[in-house]
Symmetry: C3
């Protein structure tokens, strides 16, 4: 399969007479795909039931005639204003109990069944009209589920849906009371109708209560999406895609992904660095115009998993954006670097957001491939360069990874509900382990917790995994490689209680977590041979051999040779040391990449990307600042 | 009276067949007391009026049969869910006007008279049933009044109650308008029904208005508690106790205490250090696993006063807790240290919270004496050690203090209502003075503002005392020792106006506060002989002799030899210097304890507790890190 | 015209028998003016329609008889409590949708027409009664419009008024949809009644939507004020004044000022330094007791413009206030310095707030010229000194400035709506440019954006000017001096879209802003010849000659010799260097004043004010710390 490029386009924003010229310039830039339609509900249906789709017919014709493949988005992320007349209570409600208003996007509550039916209706209309259209080569459902904190809604619709969901799951309040431990603080319920959403309590609600609501809320996203995919499947053979957003963990992307053919994500490296990534001010200053060296790769590997091998970037940052606290411009070369890094991780397609910067509305300060005046923006030349380069390198697929990292949405919810330490965050924990793997030059697969087969891997990591499901436990039991489990792994039941017997309960590893500490940022626990534990430390008890100890002689890692349990969150340097040491034991190739340099193998080539602001050398290759080079094996 | 130990236990959380074994292990650990029942309303009364107390009968029997004395808690901090069906508007309302929801605890509004009657009803049921039960050796009312910001409620019940309270107090709006100065900003009222609670105003409401509401709110806690004590008194001779929470100042503990026999408090040294105490990051890192060296002692001395000599620790932190921003484990030895420090300050009993860590619900990460799997947790051995040690030392009572510090809840409200400087906090001010006394090795009594007799004392401190009541003023007039009054003392009227003539109006001390400054943290006012004033500085005028001056020649302390007025908040080092200098003048024994070491005398022994993470020496004694030693006089 | 002094006085706060003595002491202090009445509505009208103005008659008589000129304030900032019975929904609503309560001041919503009529009624009553009173020499409308965030209200009255305003402006929703770019995110409206206020949206509402609401809200302040001025004009010839508050930018002061004769502002230098000014902790510590050296002057120059030459200080801080985070006392001398600095900038009158400190209510900790006990406070002697000094120096008016800075309220709203960088603030941007001018010793005029004539000036600055209106553009086209435009100037349309062709579109300057960066505080862009760009950097394209470049060769300033466009926000040192360099080119006198020293010329004298805490020398003159000296030309 050939690597391809694409772009997001809003024909409704521009005079129809310019469409053809735009399409021509897209093709000249080497673009194959164009995404349209996902925010155009109001133009498709200006009043309830009054459809006006002829403009869309023509837009598809013009784009298709120019040789572009069209991705058509269902427009359900932006219901028109008239929708509120039909469904006045459809909007999302905040944890403070305030109903959000119309005037931006994603204002709907996932639990509102009336709105869900409206989405089914418009999806069916589009599916019937365009399902067999030869230019429509893919469909996107909605847009960026969960963005702007929209997964969790505290509406009466959510409350009623939650009660039904609980009744289905537990069948009786007695069962629910036992499962949640409601004897604590006299919290027992007599009927399901007594159960409120877990907001506005005086102090913490029961973690089991909140976890149930988190699961319910994730299920609503799955159900909402499925309504659309079922309709689309009945009318089209084109692949179905959703564009996930970086570091959104409030719903289970794997489960949504099961109803889709391709996973895609929206990659905004500079926005994410500024807005949603831990890091010292020095780190953020160094990578101000490049983005974090591991954030994109983590998501590439994640969505390759969510898409069961098939994944895209649906939106690639093309220059400064408008929504992060600070919005610098990327270094020249970064558009090319980001695109090639995605391809190296197995992306089929990289689409840029968006074709032309609008002079108006919320995203007027969000750059594009064209400036507001229609002139080429800086990113365009880099896109053109990539479009030429992709013809020169065969896409034999990304490398088969020997290392896997388990990433589990339920665990993200669990530790969000019960951090126990103010800076304990599941994504951050996983990212710190991922960083160490990347620094060691390893190609990584990210896997869901219900993975059943680890045969491909020599090294498996599972930090912070709330529960090791039976299938994964079975796989670990026969696993021949090395597993690094923990900290805080398999210490809970599914109902968010502490496991008794105490976890992690790993096969052939006699070790229990008998006490847990969370530690402030300016404190650390020293290890015997250098390095520290930060944030989190578990006291282990048992006969398991100690691999690493703290300076005062307590277990930091216990190991049966094959399975290891990490009792703490190691600092970055120490995590790298652990990975390197483990790889040596496993006779795996390992390196220590300079700060900013990263590598990723495909079946045929090794790619070197340099996020640093200075040129770097590795394996005899000079990689320019903000540059990418590759070498065939 | 023998010092005793105890524990909190929740028989309703555990299978009945395990109770006897638990009781046996408690006794083997040397425990005398077991507190039960305080969160079990739902199990006592699963539906309104349907009482199920047989399990409680049996639990008391089992515990009593094992030789334990039972403290029975009224379960009113956790009304069952069915209570809301009867009283849908009983929940507390936040300052933002949002009604809190069921799902945790302490959700009731103190002003809701319907709920108060429900509490009277369940208290009467328990009192009638267990008032003469020989195993019930004490009663606890409710649990941790004021915890989770629950003293102040902005409900319509509070509003109506407040209006009645104002009408009772002022009799006419004219009187109220004059008292509050409502001519200012056209704030006069014509009827009591026009008066709202002082929340949601555009800018500050009148300080007199807020103070009245603070007094009203404190009165509701007193009234709420009294409903229970009056019922209990009619049925039992066992002592009545409430378990206060650390650094809760929103209601008057002295007044609540007047209706009780014993004061107790819940001591969580590591949680408090992390969550509710000012301190540099270095200080907090040093004492991360020990707690602040003065925070516990302050409360010990406070509750000895609230209990008129009789006081307990009802809940002692047994390991990491779940509710502070960071939750480290205590150093080995700290359980013993904390217990002995409490005994040295005169505690009759130290109870640990709790017997066994539950695997479920909100406090599953809160450690206990037993782990969730029933195995001994680290604290248990230390409790056992203390239980053995208490037999070896006679409890002749704590030392008679020669130093008193006035601590006044009304003043805490006053400066909360009108801080005038962003970091002016009454508790913090008192604690900084208390620290200096402790560093000097002094045993301190904490006294209410209406103290009438100071004969016992050589040194009295009254920082930040809003009003010196007539009785205290009389006592000061004849006081033979040295008093250190101020800063910000006796400068207000009861109605939260500035006193005219200007305060402090001390006998035989011609000095007026004519101007006041609050100062940011990075600024300080230098003193003539070294040291600085921080946070707060008052300009004094008058003929009173100047004891200390600022570097630019303004009075920092004025003194008539006996009474001193402090014009500022001195830094810690300077406060210590002042105390030391004053003690030398008074020919009192004084020392300069190393950082972390503290001493407290009983009638027969001196106790040395070492909060530092390193061994320390004092008076020829080596006190190990996290250790306590004692020496008979 | 003679410079005069005055004071704010509240006869309703003090016994009538003291009024005459107070008046006598005012006169003895050299005061000419006394402002009364602005918070006394309740005493004027204790119940709806029941007028009691006799006390006010007598107060005016007493003050007038003593020789004082009275400024009478309309009391509309503090509606009495009974007003809420008539207009229960008159209160302001927060962005969170919460209605504020009675109990402080400024609780009304500017859009409430019923309250506006009440204000007309009381104004008419006062105007009819006192319009010809010989002692009433000026009128003040309301008090501090916009203080306590009261310009923007999210009430249903505001919503309805906004819809009408939009309908008037756009005539059709089609026009509005096009103007706002509502095709974006399906935001089109079909009727004006569908348009909500732009609060509580899920993510950003359209910037055009918010800007329209900001304009509407400012218009309501103008309309509210105009109701009063139209009534007053019909009954009095005395000048009409409003007292604006420092750094309040939510409504257009120039437009309000058009209906008034004199602009005045309330100057609280220490409060502003602590509460509402950017600055390092070191800067704030250095000027703790003096205030920022440029903050007062900026407002002086601003209100000279708002008042079209006539301006006052209506309230001058007399000592510590009560409302800032920290409230220190001024250094001795500052009252005199502040007063003289105001006179040097052309103030006619400086009034102090207030005569006597009340012992009661919200501002009891706000000092005054008299202490609460009636004794002279420290400021009084300085006021007396100034009153003597003003007789000794002729007031020939402030100097004719050769430098102008454009300050535009619409731009403040624009960049508040769309900061694009977390620390981009329009006032801060203008202040940083103003500081550089002041450090260079220049006398500055501040001008509105619709200025039509720049002939008087040699140097004009326009940083951050959203739109250059046609009249200013015309003036710039023929301007003979040097203009420093930008950064972020003339890059938008009036409808808050990006200008196409891309701005700044300056005459004879071929340069476009093709890309924009916002930069975090710890990052900076180096310039070729030293110095840095902070916060904001624009990428310029075009043939315009480059005056300054970045270290990597991009334009930092482009210039046609006469018009310059600044591509970034220069650091303070660099801004000063630019000003100095430009002045040398213009053959203007320029200096580099020591930190804290500032100068301002009148027609006859140069004034040297020293905000520093140490003595400074300049031009052979020694200026004592906190001192002011002057020298005739």
């Amino acid at each position: 399969m050939k690597r391809t490029l694409g772009v997001c386009y809003y024909p409704e924003h521009w005079p129809e007479e310019e469409w053809a010229d735009n399409a021509r310039r897209m093709v000249e830039t080497g673009l194959t795909w164009v995404r349209i339609g996902e925010f155009a509900w109001q133009r498709m249906e200006p009043a309830s039931g009054r459809l006006e789709l002829e403009w869309l017919d023509r837009a598809i014709d013009v784009l298709g005639a120019a040789g572009l493949k069209v991705i058509l988005g269902t427009p359900t992320a932006t219901p028109p204003r008239w929708m509120l007349n039909k469904h006045p209570d459809m909007n999302i409600v905040t944890p403070d109990g305030v109903r959000r208003k119309f005037g931006s996007r994603r204002n709907y509550c996932f639990s509102h069944l009336g709105y869900r039916q409206e989405c089914a209706r418009i999806t069916r209309i589009l599916a019937e009209r365009y399902g067999k259209n030869p230019h429509i080569a893919a469909w996107q459902t909605d847009n960026e589920y969960g963005c702007h904190d929209t997964t969790l809604s505290y509406s009466t619709h959510a409350r009623d849906g939650f009660r039904d969901w609980l009744a289905q799951k537990y069948q009786s309040t007695d069962a629910l009371n036992r499962a949640w431990g409601n004897v604590f603080w006299s919290l027992d319920y007599n009927t399901f109708d007594q159960i409120e959403l877990p907001n506005l309590t005086v102090t913490d609600p029961s973690p089991a209560h909140v976890m149930a609501f988190r699961r319910y809320s994730s299920d609503q996203v799955v159900a909402f999406n499925r309504v659309q995919t079922e309709i689309l499947r009945a009318h089209t053979d084109a692949p179905l895609i959703h564009n996930y957003m970086g570091r959104i963990t409030e719903f289970d992307h794997y489960t949504v992904g099961e109803d889709l053919d391709i996973a895609s994500w929206d990659s905004y490296p500079l926005g994410f660095l500024s807005d949603r990534l831990e890091g010292t001010p020095e780190h953020k200053a160094r990578y101000l115009r490049q983005g974090d060296p591991d954030m994109q790769a983590f998501h590439h590997d994640l969505y390759r998993s969510v898409g069961r091998g098939r994944w895209w970037i649906m939106e690639q940052q093309p220059g400064p954006v408008n929504w992060a606290p600070y919005n610098p411009a990327p270094l020249p070369g970064m558009e090319r670097l980001w695109a090639w890094e995605a391809f190296a991780h197995g992306a089929e397609t990289v689409c840029f957001f968006r074709w032309r910067q609008p002079a108006f509305a919320q995203e007027q300060m969000h750059t594009a491939l064209l400036r507001p005046d229609g002139v080429d923006a800086p990113a365009l030349a880099e896109v053109l360069q990539v479009s030429k380069e992709i013809s020169t390198i065969p896409n034999a697929g990304t490398a088969t990874a020997r290392v896997a990292l388990i990433f589990d949405y339920t665990s993200a919810w669990a530790w969000d509900v019960q951090p126990q330490g103010a800076d304990f965050d599941y994504f951050r924990l996983c990212m710190s382990h991922y960083r160490a793997l990347r620094r060691a030059g390893l190609s990584v697969d990210i896997l869901p917790a219900d993975t059943q087969n680890l045969n491909q891997y020599k090294l498996v990591l599972a930090p912070g995994l709330m529960v090791i499901p039976p299938s994964l436990m079975a796989a670990l039991t026969t696993f021949q490689g090395t597993a690094l489990i923990g900290p805080r792994s398999n210490v809970k039941t599914d109902e968010m209680s502490i496991s008794v017997p105490l976890g992690p309960n790993l096969p052939n590893l006699d070790s229990k977590v008998v006490n847990t500490e969370s530690i402030p940022p300016n404190c650390a626990i020293a290890l015997q041979n250098g390095g520290t534990i930060r944030h989190w430390f578990e006291h282990l008890e048992g006969e398991a051999p100690i691999r690493w100890s703290t300076a005062d002689g307590r277990p930091a890692i216990v190991s049966n040779g094959n399975l290891n349990y990490l009792a703490g969150w190691f600092d970055d340097e120490t995590l790298f040391k652990l990975i390197a040491e483990t790889c040596v034991d496993l006779e795996m190739e390992v390196t220590d990449l300079p700060d900013g340099l990263r590598i990723r193998d495909t079946q045929t080539h090794r790619f070197y990307v340099n996020y640093a602001p200075e040129d770097l050398e590795h394996e005899g290759l000079k990689v320019p600042a903000a540059g990418v080079v590759w070498k065939a094996f």
